[in-house]
């Protein structure tokens, strides 16, 4: 339910001042046309008190019932109806309380039409202002709802994107641990620890959180250690980051899927040892990270290499920065390079 404009103190004060001005004006006008001060003030009070009631009534009605399209004619009729009602009622009350003043009844009859038009105008103005106000309120509510919904959808989407990356890695890691338990229990224990730390990291960190490159690399190392146990000698890594990038920030958990993609692509597209390289540098005001993996240009066109992993990274970067040019890939001879740019927001 939208708030009445009178719930705001500023509007309430203005509203009251306006009515005082109207009451005073009318009293002065009546006095000017020869009515004694006392009668003029009573007339103005009765008249305008009734009009105030009518105005409040219409404001209240509009709070629950906002006209749409064709219904404006209804509002117009209600205004006319209320004005007439107000006129009859005030005429009756005025006659009752001021009828004993000489010449008052005549003046009242003569002024009826002008009273009606002033009343109708005021009522109309209030109605219009109320309609505008409530429409605006409604729009505001709609907007907040929309942004809320969008935010929720965004969070849900981000969550889902990350979940989808996990199962293959998780089950294979468990299988490795299973194998280690028999032969090398100490290493099994270590890998359980690494896997737990890694999983805790994915749960703990929120998608919107920003971390330094150093923190992200520590987390990435957990992942790489696990993968190295899984793939043994086949997987080697080379991480090289410029000194001045260490404290630069990036969205949490952004690098892992890129590296995961590189490992998958590299390991599944070649036989023998695979070296995954990660270089970080500062270019203008961007943190630029390049991840490289070997591939076989004869059997796979690089286009096929952009699997689910990278698509989700691209989507995430879009949700965070509303830009689609932050992630790019290129193939040079037998090396596939994924480049991600992260604008620094300070």
């Amino acid at each position: 339910m939208s708030n009445s404009p009178l719930s705001i103190l500023r509007f309430k004060v203005i509203f009251i001042i306006c009515w005082l001005v109207i009451i005073t004006d009318q009293a002065i006008a009546l006095n000017f046309f020869g009515l004694p001060w006392q009668a003029a003030i009573i007339d103005s009070l009765i008249c305008n008190a009734l009009l105030l009631l009518a105005c409040l009534l219409i404001m209240h009605t509009l709070r629950y019932y906002l006209p749409r399209g064709q219904q404006y004619i209804n509002i117009f009729s209600i205004c006319i109806f209320l004005s007439i009602l107000w006129l009859i009622l005030s005429k009756w009350l005025l006659k009752l309380s001021l009828g004993h003043y000489p010449g008052y009844t005549d003046m009242l009859h003569q002024s009826l039409s002008i009273r009606f038009s002033i009343g109708f105008l005021l009522l109309g103005c209030i109605t219009m202002i109320s309609i505008l106000w409530y429409n605006q309120q409604e729009q505001k509510e709609k907007d907040t709802r929309k942004t809320d919904a969008e935010k929720l959808a965004k969070e849900a989407e981000l969550f889902k994107l990350r979940q989808q990356l996990q199962p293959h890695f998780l089950f294979n890691s468990l299988n490795s641990i299973n194998a280690l338990i028999g032969s090398r229990p100490e290493e099994a224990r270590k890998m359980v620890q690494q896997l737990s730390d890694f999983l805790r990291g994915t749960i703990k960190k929120e998608e919107t959180q920003w971390v330094t490159l150093q923190e992200e690399l520590q987390y990435l190392q957990l992942y790489l250690d696990i993968e190295k146990v899984r793939f043994g000698n086949r997987l080697a890594t080379d991480i090289n980051i410029d000194e001045n990038t260490q404290s630069m920030k990036l969205p949490a958990l952004l690098l892992q899927p890129i590296v995961e993609n590189a490992i998958k692509f590299g390991l599944y597209d070649t036989t023998g040892e695979t070296v995954i390289r990660l270089y970080a540098s500062r270019e203008e005001n961007n943190l630029v990270i390049r991840v490289m993996n070997p591939f076989d240009p004869e059997t796979s066109s690089p286009k096929q290499g952009i699997g689910f992993g990278l698509k989700s990274v691209q989507r995430r970067l879009y949700l965070l920065f509303a830009r689609t040019d932050l992630l790019s890939t290129e193939a040079k001879e037998n090396i596939f390079i994924t480049v991600v740019k992260i604008p620094e927001t300070t």
Binding site: Y268, T271, E298
Partner: protein, 246 residues
Amino acid sequence: MGKIIIIDDEPLARSIVREFLQKHPQLEVIQECGDGFEGVKAIQQHQPDLIFLDIQMPKITGFEMLELIEQPPGVIFTTAFDEFAIKAFEAHAIDYLLKPFNQDRFDKAIGKWTEQRSGTTEKATQDLLESASLSPSQRQRIVVRNGSKIKIISVHDVFYLEAADDYVKIHTQEGYFLKNKTMNHFEQSLDIHQFVRSHRSYIVNVQQITRIDPYEKDNHVAILRSGAKVPVSRSGYSKLKEVLGL
């Protein structure tokens, strides 16, 4: 006695199979392989009775590897998470091990294989491979064997397919390769918007066609970019017209 080959790209995954096999002294591991290429070689060389086969492996998948072997041995599939593969196993009632698995489950799989050993499971395996070839990744490429070499052909590089007795000739830039499959298999598994069965014995890649000329009465011939001519029958002609939007 039974000869075993373990094919999996993760060394630890192979070692656990080896470990669980200790309870079955009648089975002997004669080789471990880290990818499908090694797998094909080892199977040809040793003619094992049973292989343990991972699905997701470097270069070619376990399914693609099996396709390259003329008389596949008994197979126990091992996989961590591959919804497509699991669906295929379920559909053809083929036993598989979900990683990580324990000794009990492993023993059951061995028991099942021992029972079925006398009966033939080759039919089920063939059916499995048939449905596995419909997976999105496998529809993009064709794996063939050329002597001792294994070749992965992207479907976009295929000019046309031609029936040749029990085989299908796959024509590409580098000449043709033979695959032990039927024309119907390829007609079903290849993208129907790109590959059209223009003739009983031909499937053509429409992206390679430069023009279609009339040829004798009622028949046509498609001229490809490479200059090759592919016969087009009357019904093939109407299919082509539909795909090309003529």
